[in-house]
Symmetry: D2
Subunit: 452 residues, 4 copies
Amino acid sequence: MAPHPIEAITSPSSWAMVEDKFSPYAKETLAKLIAFVEEEVIPAQKVAHHQLPEGEDRWKTVIPIIEELKVKARKLGLWNLFLSKTQYPKHGVPLTNLEYAVMAEVLGRGGPMASQAVNCSAPDTGNMEVLAKYGTSEQQKQWLVPLLDGRIRSAFAMTERFVSSSDATNIRTSIKREGNEIVINGRKWWISGAGDPRTKIHIVMGKSDPNNSNVHQQQSVVLVPADAPGVTIVRPMRVFGYDDAPEGHCEILYENVRVPLSNLVLGWGKGFEIIQGRLGPGRIHHCMRSIGLAQRALDTMIQRVTDPSRKTFGKYLHQHGTVLADIAKSRADIEGARLLVLSAALQIDKHQAKGALKEIGIAKFVVPSMALQVVDRAIQAFGAEGVSQDQFLAEAWAGLRTLRLADGPDEVHIRQVGQRELKRATHLVKKAQESKKREEALLVKHNIKTSL
Amino acid sequence: MAPHPIEAITSPSSWAMVEDKFSPYAKETLAKLIAFVEEEVIPAQKVAHHQLPEGEDRWKTVIPIIEELKVKARKLGLWNLFLSKTQYPKHGVPLTNLEYAVMAEVLGRGGPMASQAVNCSAPDTGNMEVLAKYGTSEQQKQWLVPLLDGRIRSAFAMTERFVSSSDATNIRTSIKREGNEIVINGRKWWISGAGDPRTKIHIVMGKSDPNNSNVHQQQSVVLVPADAPGVTIVRPMRVFGYDDAPEGHCEILYENVRVPLSNLVLGWGKGFEIIQGRLGPGRIHHCMRSIGLAQRALDTMIQRVTDPSRKTFGKYLHQHGTVLADIAKSRADIEGARLLVLSAALQIDKHQAKGALKEIGIAKFVVPSMALQVVDRAIQAFGAEGVSQDQFLAEAWAGLRTLRLADGPDEVHIRQVGQRELKRATHLVKKAQESKKREEALLVKHNIKTSL
Amino acid sequence: MAPHPIEAITSPSSWAMVEDKFSPYAKETLAKLIAFVEEEVIPAQKVAHHQLPEGEDRWKTVIPIIEELKVKARKLGLWNLFLSKTQYPKHGVPLTNLEYAVMAEVLGRGGPMASQAVNCSAPDTGNMEVLAKYGTSEQQKQWLVPLLDGRIRSAFAMTERFVSSSDATNIRTSIKREGNEIVINGRKWWISGAGDPRTKIHIVMGKSDPNNSNVHQQQSVVLVPADAPGVTIVRPMRVFGYDDAPEGHCEILYENVRVPLSNLVLGWGKGFEIIQGRLGPGRIHHCMRSIGLAQRALDTMIQRVTDPSRKTFGKYLHQHGTVLADIAKSRADIEGARLLVLSAALQIDKHQAKGALKEIGIAKFVVPSMALQVVDRAIQAFGAEGVSQDQFLAEAWAGLRTLRLADGPDEVHIRQVGQRELKRATHLVKKAQESKKREEALLVKHNIKTSL
Amino acid sequence: MAPHPIEAITSPSSWAMVEDKFSPYAKETLAKLIAFVEEEVIPAQKVAHHQLPEGEDRWKTVIPIIEELKVKARKLGLWNLFLSKTQYPKHGVPLTNLEYAVMAEVLGRGGPMASQAVNCSAPDTGNMEVLAKYGTSEQQKQWLVPLLDGRIRSAFAMTERFVSSSDATNIRTSIKREGNEIVINGRKWWISGAGDPRTKIHIVMGKSDPNNSNVHQQQSVVLVPADAPGVTIVRPMRVFGYDDAPEGHCEILYENVRVPLSNLVLGWGKGFEIIQGRLGPGRIHHCMRSIGLAQRALDTMIQRVTDPSRKTFGKYLHQHGTVLADIAKSRADIEGARLLVLSAALQIDKHQAKGALKEIGIAKFVVPSMALQVVDRAIQAFGAEGVSQDQFLAEAWAGLRTLRLADGPDEVHIRQVGQRELKRATHLVKKAQESKKREEALLVKHNIKTSL
């Protein structure tokens, strides 16, 4: 029996766990999305690759076939799927976090191009959420509408060089009011999307009140046009040799950049509040895309080890016990991680991101490491081809490795989850005391004496 | 806010994934079961411990407080919960595998005593299923009814000494017809429950037709009364240093044991069919009990590391970063594994055990290793106390370690899952070929030439 | 070619690394020891097992065959090999730490009985060192001489219940002077050897000056005869179900125990100094014994998986790729760990234990985990037999697991090693600055400008 | 006390294990090499980086500062250190494998530039060995002499696309005699050094007798000038995103390439013999370079986590317990692996590569994984900077990952080591039988009966 199209992508058993939580609209959209990614996006990747030139021109290119795919996707209703109607009634689509999580896996499987084709690429997704939630109608008109239309792209400028910015209180970029203007000075790096010629707006976080006794009210967020005087793209950062052109992850210098007061977002000292609101669901999307990537790596590995033209030491690859074990473990690893992320998405639907921080934290530190291991096993099965440009595996590995650092390194999330677990101590101690009392009563009743 | 009683045991996020799949009856039963285990069973464990004497008398004892708990449990309707009404309409309860799986976790948390108190102990559970499914009405009357009543216990005699019995075709015990009798000769070991004075029946598997060309039709199963002449309990096997009295895991000698022909189960050569039917759901129950144990170990560890009387090198235990990391990872490990088992249980509900072999296999090799690691971390946090008789941890570890061997060692399940994954290759290759065709068409259309 | 007898036990490649550091005496002694352990000790283990009765009598037994072995060993010059002539000229043997380390591996392979047979058992070894180093001649005459003769045994009472005694400053047992007597009050546990009928002396550490501002001068050590009034052996502690009779690891109550002033060791407030001196080399001995055990587990596993009577799924066990991989990894793990311990032993020879703390710490946290994994793989290859009393593996595992806690848990040693590594920072920074200067000069010379 | 210059690079404790095996010449050379790498090579790396242009010119460049370093090195007597005088009396230096192994670690620390500066770069090292061992005097004059002089470079063309060439019998490139010429046709890839403008010679392995019943006599090796008609460098392969220009790892097409008969090496059908001889010591060199890299990663990590300008959540990085644990484990991992490789090098010195295959195999599969983990931990400590071009870590990781595939993937070496371990079974069984006999005699003597 041919697998159900949806099952072919996610997994029959994970799907069974959530299917009854999907609306008819979500099911239909998912089926369309799968078909679109499999039949339109993946076959277009080689063309896209050839449409990106070598050398400096890489940074000046809008890849034509992606723009064509965007038109198709929008016609199919596959557009801005990340933006929840519940939270953003004006622009959003009626999908829950759980429903979108499954779609994010499909997008992850299709690579960055898939997310772009349906206008669901980071960092634009988070940026649109910021503008939708906190932007003035003027700000929305100028930046949100073209972003929702996929006409421009955007950057989110938080991480700084020379500073441990996983702890955001360490940030140094200065944001000062001077008359009717805001003046920005600072050096940021790892600013995704900043290299793209379509990127028109930077959402910049910095310190506007560095002496405020409340360390979470020192920061503000401002909108900086990409072409404002004083904005210099210093260089693209490389990730294991990859530059990810044309988007890139750039080092940027802001030198006496001036924007009007109306470019402030939400209010002075609201920077922390804004980035907090931006983080939860985005992490789940990253996780599900990673799972899509891991699943694709496993699928590719299965094809490789069953390739009838590959024999070593008298055996097909899949006949080596350790290869078979790698496959079984990868399948188990993916299934477990997928269920963890879906469960976190469901918690967000039920209790908002704030009420799901433990589940989000777990997903955030479990999934990238899991996916790295699955991809690494696939690389090993491919031999040298696995680390090369002829397979997607090495590039996928590099991207996933970065996820163990981006949006907070593993250590931060492990700490956070550990500390939340410790909060259960009070309840556990109380239960243990009650149990002890009953135990003692029973010992007395049965006339049993114990030492100590 | 006090956690929901159910959430306190399972986990809020896992529970959210399955809550809407629970019937009102199941929810009510679960709540009762949690209360019963927490308030009645756990506080009674020390009394039970004292009611078990030292020395040889350990093997002759029926622990009084467990019998009292059985009476209470039955009154509460907490009885034979493992036996599905759908499959066994006459004796079963209306619980799905998924619903019972959650209850098995609660039972696992309560230790072996909890399962006994509600008449859901292995190997009786599997044995009752065999008798309910394959037994004649005479066999059922004689053995199934008292088992269902909790009046007697039973053993399942399959594993053999000197033989790699993880591959059941290696079994050597001889089962022969002689006139109107069946004669059994063989040496079994690791026969759980055989040491118990209440055990009245052994379900014995052996070879009745060792030359049959079909290796799966060489075996038969017969019912052997525990007190039949020729049955000798040679010795209890120890698991690490534990003997698990009074049930034990015994070595048994069957020497010219004779039973009437009517003690044959299902028919000659049906031995393999019978054990196959016995395995699937039982493995899931073991897994969920293991998860209950792992969760209890984590809870105990949290209490230990937050104990205000324990400070080393100027810090409370929980302030050491590695301890906190251990707790976070344990939480994540348990959550992921729990979801995997619940998902396997759901697959059994949807497609029978036969249609869920991959999911069962994954659960079977993932869960014991996971639980061992969680328990090991808790042991480490407890110091020497952790390996001693003053905590449940060392004994739990020993039992879990055995699960990596019982019902097929990890290796067998990993192989099985790997081979099932390989079956996806055909579908994957077909999809890849279709994608390649579309890719080629696009390359032609865009006038791009590629080497090779 | 038959392997050299020595190579058969250690490993040819590790042996090659140290052979030229062995004196002729050490080589000869090693050869004799190997023959003694292989030909005398190991074949006697079953007899010893039968000479130890069941039940309470276990604690009252001096196993005859071990006493016979002791006589043989002493005649062969295999006696008190642990006691270095350099440090203890009067009683010691002319072996370096490195030389004895290799012998400790041989002893570890032979099990606890081997160490007893040559009078090299913990805790006696460390206790003899304490008495030889710090004892008065009166104390030595009374206790050291019979210990060196193997006529009595001894206990070292440091670890306390209800206290995190991995940080020795937490100890609470009270040691007070009253006139010409010392009065001891406290509760200790995990006191190895205290159950043995031959144990005549406890070396007890406690607090004599709990208010001393120097937390390392609050402790003193006194000698307490095992039969002194007020000494109660409360119970044996169990390690994963094992009681290790007759020696045991006991809980002991000291209630108003009175000993003469002359039983004080070294001086008031010298407790910390004494235990510090006791620790270094002893840890290396434990490690090497563990390596002997791990090597024996691997050897046993190799025999099992090549057993021609064991076939599963049409293959011998060793034909399964994962089994072969387990064997290769175990071999590599053992080799690497063995070299680490030998290297630490050599550091002790060169720089005393004080100058080898990093190397000792590394060995201490690496070896037990390594050995546990090797033994665990062997258990898995043996199936259920591996966890039972029919193989040495489960008991070995339990003992090794305790080593991750005894003499400081892994965490303490990991911390210590990490902190010592950090001390290299100063040197590294200096080197990096010098390198930077040269780099800058070269950049200037080649007329290269760099940003930043 | 300032560390001994040698200790600063290797490690005091490993050094102590081998110091007495070093000749005075080797000690002096090592000291000079350390100074040269630290003071000349490492400070020159930034200049070299700037001397390598962007774009296509990368492949046409001879980096001037490396040529300067080569002149300096040769004057210092630091030249061709890899070539053993014992094996190659005419051209070699008087260093053992063990001595050179320690130097290879120093070179690995200095990066690829260090190896080039002293003319000890792969694949030239192995190629020079092939020419020195198997070349005719004519071949040596033409190719070996300029290679030994560092005037040209070379490539070794074995690995093929579309073929599982970890099993060398799968190779397809055709080598045919036609009259007085040899004609080569085939497609190779991952040919290191082939991109370099200085590379003048390819040593090509192919099939000259594909139907020979002895699969190890089907292959021959020929010398192919890099500029021979029909040789096309198709493209550089990338390792993750790195192209390793100017050397590169290239795909090469050999189309009807014709060379004179005198370019055959050793004889027809001798291909396998040649590559076998090439492998052993080279693997050890790779391993020691990897250890140098791992040690450098750890040193860099220590500097980072003690950087007083980096604080997160109120703590310096090194105050986080998990960071400290990572450092301690990395130190232990490096030490153990280093000793394993040194021990393998010593075995080669004692028993030739053939007699050290198990030790070489262990080093080959242990070291790259170990180094990857150490580098990965350092990356994690550096945050995003760790994956970027601003640190050497990501590039080091990519290179090390390839080592798990190059010269045989891990799996091949694990299998080989496992199979060699199995050969010990015969000896172990014999010993066990002897022990059993003694045991039985003792049981009889002590009048003990055992069941079974």
